[in-house]
Amino acid sequence: MYNQTEIIKDTSELGADGELVINMGPQHPATHGVLHLVVTLNGETIKKIEPHLGFIHRSIEKMCESLTYRQFIYVTSRMDYLSSHINNLGCALLVEKGMQIEVPERAKYIRVILSELTRIASHELWLGAMAMDLGAFTPFFYAFREREMITDIMEDTCGARLTMNYIVPGGLMYDLHPDFQKKVKAFITQFKSKVTEYEDLVTNNIIFQSRTKGVGILSAEDAISYGCTGPVARASGVSCDIRKIYPYEVYDKVEFDEVIETAGDSFARYIVRVKEMNQSIRIIEQLIDNIPEGDFVGKTKNVLKLPKGEFYSRVETARGEFGVYVVSEGGTTPHRIKFRSPGFSNLSVLNHIAAGGMIGDLMASMGTLDLVIPDIDR
């Protein structure tokens, strides 16, 4: 347990500039999880922010050293729980790469459709939560309306709403529900008609624009140096979409644009995510009518053993690049497994972009970084 007196100074000890050190969190409605920020203020201007992590550190990397290659996938669902299908896909791709397992085409198509639906659900929740941080309560309910449609589809097919372990090494766990295509098409129709609602309510709102334009500017060199990936880096002009650069599954067969903005401020990060939702709809539309018939899982042995060596696989989650690095000694459990989480590098840029601004701007910057804390602490 850390020493409380180190963090909170007595007011009689205010520095020469009148500095004040305050705590934000770990229990705070706007930190989206348990993040403890120690903020050094001068009036309302921020001088330094220091994140303290570890309040949800569940020692996942140590635990995975005693789980088999089929078992460790369920744990990754719970790390970045808003893109749980995509995390599972990253782990399954690693095992398939290591053991040279063939995945049937039908499974690949369905995996990509589920990944894109998960991306839309994650961005919807981000939109609702970020608007709520800035004081607007209505977009939260509108965003959850669409999200509930997606979790309904997931529940019919995968059996669970949030942490579904549906993607396994070799393909899928069981076949699709018969109503899947009908429900996805109904969702696409509803989403397209509601996108104009989000435009009117949030994007064109003058208060939202003045709170996010010019706030938290991140340049392209800094984004690369700090290791940022995902929408945070794409809003600064860095092209880093794993689906375009190192395509996996059927992403090389579909047409979609990589959304890049150059402004680098919070409004650009917001626009990137909203446009990404539209691109995901475009991908789903191209795939939903052409799912090939066939098996939903390839042939695998009962006991999976990766050969001796090292393997790395990467996927594009809703937050950035998620990487899985496995060092295997030839047994049924990994010798060392490391999860390269996108939030870890995205968080390190918070001090850089928020220092010098005001406390109100910190909410806009942190909201648009889209942090999920269990992903950072693992």
């Binding site: 309040f55 949800i56 996942i60 959850f144 309306r145 979790t151 949030l162």
Partner: protein
């Protein structure tokens, strides 16, 4: 059993109404009236550490609304909250913070442990060095909800069970006062 049925069976107000000319007189006990009022207006503390927090947010939104049961206002400060819904894993570093939040809440206060992680450590039970194996090692828990994560309907069921528990019985302080030895 008949007491529980009476409570669950839509009794509008605990008490007997005697009709008199010019109005009515209600005869009841203070305890039952106060318990009835308390159970219908519990304010939760927004405390979500990990995945179960998203299901709690889903319960708060429009499809599985929990404000119909009186849980409308989710306060951010523990001084203004009545019930703490522990949604997510508690780790060794977070345990003193949880204890401090619980101590800051005013009596009467209730605790709901949501999800497998808060009941017993959940999927992180074996081979972890930093997870507290159950939130009831730290604070006393009233209602346990199994699931990983539990459905929003399960959370609503647990809120209704907590309301029944309040209407039926006494708070911890009343019990301590009653059975002082």
């Amino acid at each position: 059993m008949e007491l529980k049925e009476k409570i669950a069976g839509n009794e509008p107000f605990p008490g007997i109404v005697h009709e008199t000319p010019g109005g009515g007189i209600v005869v009841s006990t203070f305890d039952s009236v106060i318990n009835w009022a308390r159970s219908n207006s519990l304010w939760p503390l927004s405390f979500a550490t990990s995945c179960c927090g998203i299901e709690m947010m889903s319960t708060a939104s429009a499809k599985y609304d929990f404000s119909r049961f009186g849980f409308e206002v989710a306060r951010a400060s523990p001084r203004q909250a009545d019930v703490i819904i522990i949604a997510g894993t508690i780790v060794n570093k977070m345990a003193p913070v949880l204890k401090r939040l619980y101590d800051q809440m005013a009596d009467p206060k209730y605790v709901i442990a949501m999800g497998a992680c808060a009941i017993s450590g959940g999927p992180f039970f074996y081979n972890t060095y930093s997870v507290v194996k159950g939130a009831d090692h730290i604070i006393p828990v009233d209602v346990y909800i199994p699931g990983c994560p539990p459905r929003p309907e399960a959370l609503l069921h647990s809120l209704i069970s907590l309301q029944e528990k309040i209407k039926l019985g006494m708070t911890r302080e009343q019990i301590r006062g009653e059975f002082k030895v």
